[in-house]
Amino acid sequence: MINRPRSRSWTLFILALIAVLALVLHEAGQLQPVEDLAQYIVSPVQRSIAGLVGDTGDLFTTFRDVRELRDENRRLQAENNQLVTENIHLMELEAENATLRDLLKFTRNNPNYVTLTVDVIGRDPSPYLGSIVISAGQDRGLKPGMPIITVGAALVGRVTQVSPRTAKVQLLMDVSSAVNALVQSSRATGLVKGQPDGMLVMDFIPLEEKVRPGDIVLTSGLGGELPRSLVIGTVTDVVKRDIDLFQSAALKPAVDLNRLEVVQVILNFESLTTLPSK
């Protein structure tokens, strides 16, 4: 018991000496074979342990990455959905913007006209009648007979019935519709009428007048029912027979009257004729 501290001192001294000796031998390069042998024995175990530790570490990293990726994927999907929605909305706005810009062009080019831009909110439920319902009525000063136009100063029709907040518009293609018109190039006059198939026919064109496919047809303003020079459509075919008193021309409307979304009402045009409320 008395000698134990002394023996422990000796052990420490010997261990320290071995360490110093090993250091010296290592520095002198004499310990290399021993070191190589030890490395040879230890390295497979070391590699296995390192691999195991590495895999375990990767497993934790993988779990973390999967969670992060999932979160990121969710976030990106949400972002993508939002961008798709925004894109659709922007495309819609762009189309609407283009329409409104074109409508504004007409307003700028015709400062004498006071116009009101309105939405088309419905169509006639009957397939035999060509009319639309617009989102303005007496509240915005609409009256029967007012002309309705759309992009490119294209004539759409005329207001026929006005309610407090909506109005019904008889389209050019309605079979009851008749509009005084002229061919832009030859100034030949006639009457444009709606057809059951949605097309238009310009009738009562004098035989001696020259009308060709591709000619533009405008409102003539005759009769004071509509302003002059609104675009009606383009001639697609001409029917001319010597036995007839007049020739007629098939017209394609300037705009697709089945797909109207926004139109303009010319508010300060006083029609000289009153439309029957049909």
């Binding site: 439920p125 009957s126 397939p127 035999y128 009648l129 049909k278």
Partner: protein
């Protein structure tokens, strides 16, 4: 079965008069759809006649209920069966007329006549088979369009009969034949649902 009818007698009576709380908003919604959505679904001149199909379907359902009551020995219910469809035709037609530039009342009249024809035929037929529904859809479509066009002619509107037959009526018949199972099926479900609620009440 007799027990069912004894219990159901009052309930069927209530059922056969469609509740205004259901009928009015439902038919208004159909009319709005007919005006706002149906024209965009136009194919070869034909568009879905949602109101007509609803009226025809309801007429058929009313007629079938009336037949059930007839077997239970209650002849007056036959008239109720016919009336139901006609009431729907009137209300639905008025809603359509509000949205149309057609002479006011013409859609209502045409739908009422169509419902009447469908109702009378369906109540009177001896053995209603699965072909009765499409057959009545075709009949209702033809009657509705003919009455409507006749009304336009009588009120001095220009009517192109040839174009109407080939460009609108025939395509509409095909369109309605395709759609009638859907509309009839939906209204049958609705009818069954409301009848269950009423019986529970």
């Amino acid at each position: 079965m007799s027990g069912v009818f004894i219990i159901g007698r009052a309930s069927f009576d209530i059922l056969m008069s469609p509740s205004p709380y259901f009928t009015l908003p439902f038919l208004l919604m159909v009319a709005i759809l007919q005006s706002a959505a149906a024209p965009r679904l136009e194919v070869s001149g034909a568009r879905p006649d949602l109101m007509l199909l609803s009226v025809v379907s309801w007429s058929l359902l009313a007629a079938f209920r009336a037949r059930e009551l007839q077997y239970a020995g209650e002849p007056p219910s036959l008239l109720r069966g016919i009336n139901d469809g006609v009431v729907w035709g009137f209300i639905g037609g008025i809603f359509l007329d509000l949205l149309s530039t057609a002479p006011f009342g013409l859609s209502a009249l045409a739908l009422m006549v169509a419902a009447l024809v469908v109702g009378v035929f369906s109540v009177g037929v001896s053995s209603p088979g699965f072909m009765l529904v499409p057959l009545m859809a075709v009949t209702g479509t033809l009657v509705f369009h003919i009455v409507f066009l006749a009304g336009l002619t009588l009120t001095s509107r220009p009517v192109f009969w040839n174009a109407a037959v080939t460009g609108v009526i025939l395509p509409s018949v095909v369109f309605n034949l395709v759609l009638i199972p859907l509309v009839y099926g939906l209204l049958s479900l609705l009818n069954r649902q409301t009848s269950r609620e009423r019986l529970q009440w």
